[in-house]
Amino acid sequence: MDFEDTPDEAAFRAEVAGFLDRNLPEGGVRYHDMGTMEEKARRQREWQLILHEHGWSVPTWSAEWGGRALTPAKNVIWRQECDRVGVGEGVLNGGLSMLGPTLIAHGSQEQKERLLEPTARGEILWAQLFSEPGSGSDLASLATRAVRDGDDWIVNGQKVWSSFANVADMGFLLVRTDARKPKHQGITYLLIDLHQPGVEVRPLIEMTGGNHFNEVFFSDARVPVANQVGAEGAGWGIARTTLMYERSSIGSFSVLGHFERLRDLIRERGVPVDAVTADELARLYVRARSLDLLNKRVLTKVSQGQVPGAEGSVMKNEISDVMLAAADIGIRLLGEDALAPGHAYEHDFLFAPSMHLGGGTEEIMKNLVAEQVLGLPREPDAFKGKPFDEVPRS
């Protein structure tokens, strides 16, 4: 057990830090500092090209596809150093951390050759198109349908909660191609060009007043069969790969930052904290510190080649609770000034309720822990094995 870098890790960290310090453009590429979504996309693409030139665009991908096949431990260091200078995947996350690894695992040779390099260069910007208004926790009940017409699939339906779809070029899309099969068996995985008639992207305004997600509508939109990943009807299994990569890309987070921001606020305001609030701050710190350590334990396991399992679900719920508690303490510290829009905790306070929704609700996460880690029985499902179109939907 050792919480410090090994000599090899320390050398790698120095290499990464050196690279970043030398190449980071003037003004940085901090997601929140880059203005409109279009501006974010433009500047992130420029930075991605720099990364690509130096072989850092897709460090976890295999060397065959332009990557460095970083070990989990080194990937953590890579991300820590990126965090340090405020660099993240941002609008490129879908391509770099979800679609790319999925294609490497399940795509055809032709698809990989055609799509991976432009994705790594940031030329193709990807959006995930899985969730639907009627399919949230029960994602596999999705109803967007595709019908075969010659060498094309014709797609009709609606997706929602699609991050960055308003700036994306393509989407990885789940469609129902057979409604007479049980829900998991009639799904196909397609890659759709978003710049075509029949695709309409409508930005969604969230309760924060901001826009992160989109609704995407399909009316007779076309997908060439060459853009079908895996077999017809095999989409659910491939989607699970994507979802696994999505979750593990959330793995790196700075949960202690939530405490540090509160401490900064206290110092700034110079108002002494009462003992009750101090206890809550200490509780928050204890939770965040322990969570940070749990994350390190899981990363060590992954580094040793063990499958991470559903511990990630524990962490997602815990970090959500930390953020909710931090926002709550934050507005309490502000007192009446918490009325002012744009105050230090307005965004966090308004964003926090989404933490237990996005990427799987609190309830779904706890089910996963109970079933996959603890081995408790699944909920009985009265519709198990029933054809999709015989299951009630709202």
């Binding site: 949230g136 007192g335 829009p341 009265a382 519709f383």
Partner: protein
């Protein structure tokens, strides 16, 4: 012992609920959030003419209906359900309290009739930091509800209640956007503004304390209404929304969230109704009631607002859904006149388990 409203009170609630749902539903509150005033003068006039609402708790001698905190509580709870009412809280409730406690009978006769008729709007704030000297006041009141809509400003200063003309020299009132979109706030700056001292001969401290306790109890009534609305909306939704082929409200985790929210809403409602009774009867427990109800009603309002978002899934997180309006209001009400932690500290002192300090 009888913990029930009278038939007349129940009928008043019904009448009011219909009025608010028809004329000032939350959709209208949402529309008005985009305006500076935050209320529609026509509906304000209907509130006065058809229901006499602004004069509900003003004595008949001053043109009011002469009811007390029980009826006012019902009104605030029902308005709270739709986040409606605009300056009703500022004028008909808070200013009415401030004047009733801190002004002389002559001053009552001067100010209350306009407030009761809805023809004059008043705003009130606690302003212990103001410097008042020789009939002039200077200083800042960071947040005052509906001050920019007011014809009359009432401020509780260290020396007692003062009245200001918002249009006088040295008075600057600027409407302020707030995280709470559904209530209107303003910043007040006074630079040697001419003020009139009210309630000469009365005990200013007793009046200030009583006004603060009553203010807390009034806002808690609103919190309970908002909480109940959020709760009802969430429960209705989980009965309809299907996932995995069945209503999500049939999953035990969702059922238990709903049961937990139900419990806190009903606890808060019970405390609120009692607090109205204490206030209506000028009971010795007024301070205790204010501390208790602020703590539990804040918890209920925030819990129900959060659960309403959560149980609506992603849809509850959209701007389009009303859930966030309640969540925002819940935060604002929580910090009004002392947050729950401060009220619990005061309660602990009052109960003799904490040394004041």
């Amino acid at each position: 012992m009888n913990f029930a409203f009278s038939e007349e009170q129940d009928e008043f609630r019904e009448l009011l609920r219909r009025f608010v749902e028809e004329r000032w539903p939350v959709a209208e509150t949402r529309r008005l959030a985009e305006t500076d005033a935050g209320f529609d003068r026509a509906v304000w006039k209907q509130m006065a003419d058809e229901l006499g609402l602004q004069g509900l708790a003003v004595s008949e001698a001053h043109g009011g209906q002469g009811f007390g905190m029980l009826e006012l509580g019902i009104a605030l709870e029902e308005l709270g359900r739709q986040l409606a009412g605009g300056p009703f809280l500022a004028s008909a409730v808070l200013s009415n309290f401030a004047l009733s406690n801190g002004a002389t009978p002559e001053e009552h006769a001067e100010f209350l009739p306009g407030i009761a008729a809805g023809t004059s709007i008043s705003a009130w704030a606690d302003a212990p930091g103001l410097a008042v000297d020789n009939g002039r006041a200077s200083g800042r009141v960071a947040w005052c509800i509906d001050a920019h809509n007011a014809d009359l400003l009432l401020l509780t200063t260290r020396g007692g209640l003062i009245a200001l003309d918002p249009g006088a020299d040295g008075v600057s009132i600027v409407a302020a956007k707030a995280t709470d979109l559904t209530r209107k706030y303003a910043h007040i700056e006074l630079a040697g503004a001419p003020v009139r001292k009210l309630g000469v001969g009365l005990d200013p401290d007793a009046a200030a304390v009583k006004t603060r306790h009553q203010a807390v109890i009034a806002v808690a009534a609103e919190q309970v209404g908002a909480a109940a609305h959020c709760f009802d909306q969430a429960v209705a939704y989980v009965k309809e929304r299907l996932q995995f082929g069945r209503p999500v409200g049939g999953f035990q985790a969702v059922k238990h969230r709903a049961a937990d929210a139900y419990a806190v809403v009903e606890l808060a409602r019970s405390a609120a109704y009692w607090s109205w009774w204490v206030a209506a009867n000028d009971g010795a427990e007024l301070g205790e009631a204010a501390h208790v109800v602020k703590s539990i009603a804040s918890e209920a309002a925030r819990t129900a607002a959060y659960e309403n978002i959560h149980l609506h899934g992603g849809y509850g997180f959209t701007w389009e859904h009303d859930a966030h309006l309640y969540y925002r209001r819940a935060a604002a009400n929580e910090v009004f006149q002392g947050d729950p932690v401060a009220h619990r500290a005061a309660l602990a002192v009052e109960l003799g388990v904490l040394v004041a300090g």
